[in-house]
Amino acid sequence: MEENKEFKPQAVIEVIDNGPIKITGNFLLSDYKRDIMESPQEILLCRCGKSGNKPYCDDAHKK
């Protein structure tokens, strides 16, 4: 994809191969089910469905 000079991303979403989703930058994470509303600098979110600490990654994908 072409770089657009006007494009100013607020956050970077990195889908790690066989791993979690890593998010960095200016973002607001919300999870109404668990009453989470936070904006950390960096976060790793589960995408294998097996984490025991959802929505976060707990390395369950490696097992």
Partner: protein, 169 residues
Amino acid sequence: MENERIYRRGRKYTNGEITVFWKPDSCIHASHCYRELIDVFDPGKRPWVDMSGAGTDEIISTVNMCPTDALTWKWNDDEKNREVDPGQTNHVNFRRPELLLPGSETQVEPVSVKVMSDGPLVINGTFTVHYGNVKKNVSESILSLCRCGSSNHMPFCDGAHRKVGFDDN
């Protein structure tokens, strides 16, 4: 919703007379706000702040009880923000003076990352996404990423969570 606009790393709410700012990172769950004024500050509701639930004076005195800068307030009439009694502990003058700087209202909104119950991760805003060898710029748009591990269109959601009965508890 006009009443609940995302404001930097937080949100703001107004009743026309005052604006209440919420900064989630600073909350230490002292719980004064909802014990004192559940009609305005109800963590069980979305949005959790309802400015129509009480009068301005009551809202101000409750916000002043917050021990951090998680909740602060200011008058919408900027003239009234020039001289504020120090007893108004959580007025932005004393806790978050940066909010009164010119231009602070035009700050960019953070990217919204929503964890859908038993569903995908919904990302809304302006961001860059990397997957495999792909780097994609997303501008003011929405993306839905798989969280159940069963999508046939990885890393995106294809609705498979319903078929497999994904339960994210």
